[in-house]
């Protein structure tokens, strides 16, 4: 059923799931100096694949500059964004590549402990992960690298994907985001310098070490280098996980994955943006357009965008940590507000008040969760106002 066009796109890029000689990458990485690794990563243009898009090379550089004896490497496998399921697949199929990326990171910044913070719902993976990790740790010992990795299990809170909430959770506390600064690269896990990277990011770092910066830089666009693993779901004949080049337009994307009746794509999950059909052509998937941690949800004309928005807002009301005012109360106001308008208890004009308030959520929430709730709200409202009101 896969279209010719998809085949073409698939052929172009195959990095993440390609079986490769992990031991060779590890050996190569460990032979390189920290400065060389960092330079390679900065040159490659790799940005964090969790969604926020912070340049990975810079993150490692900052951590490497910290004068501390104890440092940590943490792999963020708390994949919780609605519509993403790619990290699970990577962990399942390519765990060694993840571990190699972590080990090279440890070598680069001077860390001796690493953790995979695993989403609670993925706990079924732990036995197989531990088997691979034990093997890998033994390998590192043989190579005389003082670094070992273990798994810490989360408990299913979406907020724990935020790196400082993740660290709080790792330390045994409530998953609540911290004040920044200090950033984790300065004071992270147990207040020591910590690099937290997404599962996919670690794999790309390993592959960049293997193939050099240029191979990665040549893919994608100026602002969005390289490839990206997408989780495609919704009204599509081809749901699943696909590694594609960044920088393609939504029009191309929908041509491959759409069912011929796509009216909107939610790019980046509940915290991302809703793009309507009329904007497919001009919208680039990438940091210069709509960024995504991987979630691509397609909706066709049978879907009510009010229901979509309602679902997202219910999700945020539940998954906000509840710590800061704009996010905790703001989410409730947005949800109750659209319900009130739908039920004709509130005037449609009230939606303007909510949009106005959502600016404060964006400007004043403590972390990325609250700051990005207005993304879905505003983009759905802007493009599908009539569905929200009537």
């Amino acid at each position: 059923m896969i279209t010719e066009k998809l085949k073409k796109y698939k052929k172009k890029i195959d990095i993440i799931f390609l079986d490769t000689d992990c031991a060779a990458i590890l050996d190569k990485g460990l032979k390189m100096s920290a400065d060389d690794v960092i330079k390679e990563l900065i040159d490659s243009g790799l940005k964090g694949r969790g969604g926020a898009g912070f340049p990975t090379g810079l993150k490692w550089k900052f951590a490497s500059q910290q004068k501390e004896n104890k440092k940590y490497v943490v792999c963020n496998a708390d994949e919780g964004e609605p519509g993403t399921f790619k990290d699970r697949e990577i962990l399942d199929k390519q765990i060694t590549k993840v571990l190699v990326g972590m080990a090279i990171c440890a070598h680069t910044i001077g860390a001796d402990e690493g953790y995979i913070y695993l989403r609670g719902e993925y706990n079924y993976l732990i036995p197989q992960l531990n088997k691979e990790i034990d093997k890998f740790n033994a390998d590192l010992k043989k190579r005389k690298l003082n670094f070992s990795i273990s798994v810490k299990s989360g408990s299913g809170a979406y907020i724990c994907g935020e790196e400082t909430a993740l660290i709080e959770s790792m330390e045994g506390r409530r998953g609540e985001p911290r004040n920044k600064p200090p950033f984790p690269v300065v004071e992270g896990y147990l207040n020591k310098p910590t690099v937290v990277n997404n599962v996919e990011t670690f794999v790309y770092t390993a592959m960049i070490i293997q193939n050099g910066a240029k191979f990665f830089k040549d893919l994608g666009t100026k602002d969005s280098r390289g490839g990206k693993v997408f989780s495609v779901s919704g009204d599509t004949p081809h749901p699943g996980i696909y590694e594609l080049e960044l920088g393609m337009t939504l029009e191309d994307f929908v041509e491959i994955f759409g069912d011929g009746d796509t009216k909107a794509v939610q790019v980046g999950g509940a915290s991302g943006f809703c793009v309507p059909r009329r904007k497919f052509k001009e919208t680039i998937i990438g940091f210069e357009g709509v960024p995504t941690g991987g979630s691509m949800m397609l909706f066709n004309s049978s879907r009510s965008m009010y229901n979509v928005l309602h679902n997202f807002l219910e999700f945020f009301c539940e998954e906000s940590c509840g710590q800061c005012t704009p996010c905790r109360v703001g989410c409730q106001q947005l949800l109750k507000g659209i319900e009130g308008v739908k039920d004709k208890k509130l005037s449609p004009k009230y939606l303007d008040d909510l949009r106005n308030m959502s600016d404060t959520m964006r400007s004043s929430s403590k972390c990325g969760l609250g700051q990005s709730v207005p993304n879905a709200f505003n983009s759905i409202l802007e493009n599908f106002k009539e569905e929200v009101i009537y």
Partner: protein
């Protein structure tokens, strides 16, 4: 420390590296509103009321947590900032119980003040306030979740200052709430009733259980003989709630006000503090005699038992050390039982008709008065405990123009006191008072400190240590000759815990330890006027020591009325009658 150059509202400023925007702005006389921020606590940065604009930053920045950086340009009053603050206030009000005029904290509420400043006049948002029952299970204070703004000041207070952790944040998102373990009633958990959370709650979510009406009713009942005692720390803080600056001593006006309110006799807890020193001092000497002269096994170091928050804490956390506690009741309870026995007998008053009201800087005292151990007179020894704050309210209700009042003195025969009693209100005070008396009992000479001021036990350090070498003992105390008496003092239960961990391990070479549950001692008690911070507590402390200096008698054993009490009633310190009325034991409690 490096100096950093910044601009706030276009005004240049140089501050030390690491200073927050909030504190930097203060130096330029710019007040940034705060709610979750409290100077005694770690920074939470969760209310978002203190956001400001920083040039180059996409988002607004919380000024309480953000340190300044070189060249930073900060704007505290832009349209964007004002809009965000107004939104935050109105969002908080949307989840807040708006029965302001029926709230105990009405006009003394930080949320209300900020809402007023930013003119929140329209109901823009949908009411999402929760309806939950009010936890009234503690005799000391109550918790009303409908007024909680989730600033977590109480949670931080309980864990950071007190290391108790009775409260924690529970649940997520819209359901987030301050809860006890398993949401059990407050009286079933480790809470010590110290009230430090009440002191720091910005709204009416945590308030003392007040006994104002009960007290007025007793005063209005012609069949009742109502006596009142006031704790030493009340007189150096009451003024704050009645128009004076912190540190003002209002002892005389307070006595006048209490007389005007209609109390049949106005006494002083200080009297009982002097009595406590006699009992506790001799108890210590007795334990030292057992240990040093008789070589018997006895629990040392001995630890003070005046602070009811501390008592409940040790019952929960260190029950194996309960034998180390002095068996002395607190001054409040000693007073109650003396009033209903000695005083009642002497004045021919039926103790059944006597009502003892005590005015305390403390919420835990309400719990203490309710304890089953506190019925030694045959009645409830202390009937009602009201805090400094409640007394201030009652003075206002009575229409008393407090600042203009003339001064007067306490009644006799439970109203005389020495400087040693007044310093009970400050951390280290009980220790100093005990040393002033014990040293003199043993050697016949005054403690070897200028003006009787034992400076090493004073001040705001969390844990203090001192030692005095005992020389030239009287014959009956020869076993103490040459002994270096070692003492330690802690205030705030986090500091107490540090000390108890050492005692538990056997690493505490002390003879006597003073613990007060609250920061600064009673002067920083949970029943004192709000707000509290180090500066205010230091002013109260200075006032306490000034009171001590100004008194003619400054050693407990010189208190004439206490001497008379021993002659006529108790016979001797730690004697049979004392043991029946003035001493008690405590029990182990579970750690929920």
């Amino acid at each position: 420390m490096n100096m950093i150059k910044v601009k706030i509202n276009n005004m240049p400023l140089e501050v030390q590296e690491g200073t927050t925007i909030h504190d930097s702005a203060k130096k330029l006389k710019i007040k940034i509103p705060t709610l979750c921020y409290h100077p005694d606590l770690s920074v939470a940065g969760n209310c978002r009321i203190c956001v400001v604009e920083v040039k180059g930053s996409k988002t607004l920045v919380p000024s309480c947590s953000m340190p300044v950086a070189e060249g930073m340009e900060i704007f505290t009053n832009t349209l964007k900032v004002r809009k965000a603050r107004k939104d935050v206030i109105e969002l908080l009000l949307a989840e807040h119980n708006m029965d302001c005029t029926k709230c105990y904290k009405n006009c003394n509420c930080e949320l209300q003040t900020i809402a007023k400043d930013y003119i929140s006049e329209n109901d823009r948002f949908i009411d999402v306030a929760i309806k939950k029952h009010i936890d009234k299970s503690s005799p000391s204070y109550q918790k009303d979740d409908s007024k909680c703004i989730k600033c977590q000041r109480c949670v931080r207070t309980c864990i950071e200052l007190q290391h108790v952790g009775a409260f924690t944040m529970a649940h997520k998102g819209e359901h987030v709430a301050v809860e006890t373990f398993l949401d059990l009633p407050i009286n079933e958990v480790v809470c010590t009733n110290c009230g430090q959370c009440v002191n720091r709650c910005p709204t009416g979510a945590l308030t003392e259980k007040h006994y104002i009406e009960e007290t007025w009713e007793a005063l209005a009942n012609p069949d009742k003989f109502v006596v009142v005692q006031t704790a030493p720390a009340v007189r150096v803080a009451l003024g704050e709630a009645l128009g004076f600056e912190p540190g003002k001593r209002v002892t005389g006006q307070m006595v006048t006000a209490l007389k005007r309110m209609g109390f049949n006799a106005v006494f002083d807890t200080n009297f009982a503090a002097d009595l406590t020193i006699m009992e506790e001092g001799f108890e210590l000497l007795g334990r030292l005699k057992s240990a040093l002269a008789d070589k018997k096994k006895v629990a040392l170091p001995m630890m003070t038992s005046c602070s009811p928050g501390w008592i409940k804490y040790i019952e929960h956390e260190f029950p194996t050390l309960l034998d180390n506690l002095s068996t002395c009741k607190s001054p409040q309870q000693m007073f109650g039982v003396m009033a209903k026995t000695y005083y009642a007998k002497k004045m021919k008053i039926d103790p059944a008709k006597m009502v003892v009201v005590s005015v305390m800087p403390c919420t835990a005292k309400k719990f203490e008065a309710d304890r089953p151990e506190m019925y030694s007179s045959g009645y409830k020894d202390v009937d009602y405990v009201i805090t400094t704050r409640e007394l201030a309210l009652m003075i206002q209700q009575a229409g008393i123009d407090f600042p203009a009042l003339e001064e007067s003195k306490c009644d006799s025969i439970l109203g005389d006191y020495t400087g040693a009693a007044i310093i009970f209100g400050a951390t280290g005070g009980v220790m100093e008072a005990a040393l002033r008396t014990a040293y003199e009992v043993v050697t016949g000479r005054e403690v070897p400190f200028k003006n009787l001021e034992i400076l090493p036990v004073r001040g705001m350090d969390g844990v203090k240590q001192a030692s005095i070498k005992i020389e030239g003992c009287k014959p009956e105390w020869k076993f103490l000759e040459g002994v270096e008496l070692k003492v330690a003092i802690a205030h705030g239960l986090t500091n107490a815990r540090t000390l108890m961990k050492l005692v538990e391990k056997g690493d505490a070479p002390y003879h006597f330890i003073e613990i007060m549950a609250c920061p600064g001692g009673c002067l920083g008690g949970g029943g004192q006027p709000i707000p509290t911070n180090l500066e205010i507590r230091e002013k109260r402390m200075a006032a306490i020591y000034a009171e001590d200096r100004d008194l003619p008698l400054r050693k407990s054993h010189e208190n004439h009325e206490v001497q008379k009490l021993y002659e006529e009633f108790l016979k001797e310190p730690n004697g049979h009658v004392s043991h029946e009325l003035l001493h008690t034991h405590y029990k182990k409690r579970e750690r929920y």
